[in-house]
């Protein structure tokens, strides 16, 4: 690009810097939210991934708690984690505890088939932000992503 001397080119550079030029406003700050779906049930993974795919988010999956933790350890970042409770190798409770211990501050939402209040409460103790029955509905997914938007 050749910058010619003159007021107009200076104006346009300034405009880009202040972010006032249409279309460049969010270039520097816009990135897709990244969501991790953790569940050993292929049906749930498929449904939740599909629900999420209706929104502009990046989706990753893990089939158990250990895979989720390993992903995070290897440098992956998630804005939102949908964490199933009962999984082999490492369950949702342990995985949530581990992720929090490793410094993940993002939203972790428990998703469980065990929906009694006491069971939900016990799961929350691991460090969840919230806990819902599975499968999630599209309204629930929408509201979770809206919450992400607010926090960011």
């Amino acid at each position: 690009m050749v910058f010619e001397k003159g007021a107009s080119s200076l104006k346009s550079v300034k405009a880009i810097e202040t972010g006032k030029v249409a279309g460049t406003n969010n270039l520097a700050t816009e990135r897709k939210f990244s969501v991790l779906v953790v569940d050993d049930d292929a049906i749930i993974r498929k449904i939740h991934s599909k629900l999420l795919s209706k929104f502009p988010v990046e989706i990753q999956v893990a089939v158990n708690g250990k895979e989720a933790v390993d992903l995070y350890r290897s440098g992956a970042f998630f804005d939102l984690v949908l964490m199933d409770m009962e999984m082999p190798i490492m369950n949702g409770f342990e995985a949530t505890k581990e992720l929090r211990a490793l410094g993940l501050k993002s939203l972790i939402v428990g998703v469980t088939a065990r929906s009694s209040d006491s069971e939900k409460k016990a799961f929350m103790e691991a460090g969840l932000n919230d806990c819902h029955a599975k499968p999630l509905t599209s309204e629930m997914v929408k509201s979770l992503l809206q919450e992400l938007n607010k926090n960011n």
Binding site: D41, I43, I44, K46, L51, A113, K134, P135, S138
Partner: protein, 146 residues
């Protein structure tokens, strides 16, 4: 009425029948809503996973109940999983039998558990046939250009 309209009516009527008889609940409708141009076979794919999983679980339940000393925790774990997957696709009648089954696992009642398992197998086969019919009609609609 042309073939396409007839097929569409068949599909609607059969889906309504399945809802009315309690085979399927709202969750199945949620799955249908998720289907789109990006995944035109979404419902069939999800239900196929359900069929695969169900058959494994029913097998595992049968094996566990046939043991000399029944491990009710193990049976319950299989039923719990089946309850979860049936709820995920909206298979209401199957899910309800699972709920009943779990009560008998907790009570450690072998006879009742056996009875529930047979009921579960029955409901599952019934549902499978119904859904396969539904999918066949959908396929015919697609083949006819719908």
């Amino acid at each position: 009425m042309d073939v396409m309209s007839q097929l569409r009516r068949q599909l609607l009527e059969h889906t309504a029948f399945l809802r009315k008889e309690g085979f399927l609940d709202d969750q199945f409708e949620q799955l249908q809503k998720l289907q789109d141009e990006n995944s035109p076979d979404f419902v069939v794919e999800v239900v196929s996973i359900f069929f695969e999983d169900s058959e494994k679980l029913l097998n595992n339940m049968a094996k566990a109940l046939e043991q000399k000393i029944v491990d009710f925790k193990q049976v319950d774990a299989h039923v719990h999983q089946f309850k979860g997957s049936s709820a995920s696709i909206g298979a209401m009648r199957v899910k309800n039998v699972c709920i009943e089954f779990r009560n008998y696992c907790e009570a450690q009642n072998v006879e009742e558990c056996f009875r529930c398992m047979q009921k579960l197998q029955y409901e599952y086969v019934l549902l499978k046939n119904q859904l396969e019919y539904l999918f066949r009609v959908e396929q015919q609609i697609r083949a006819a250009g719908g």
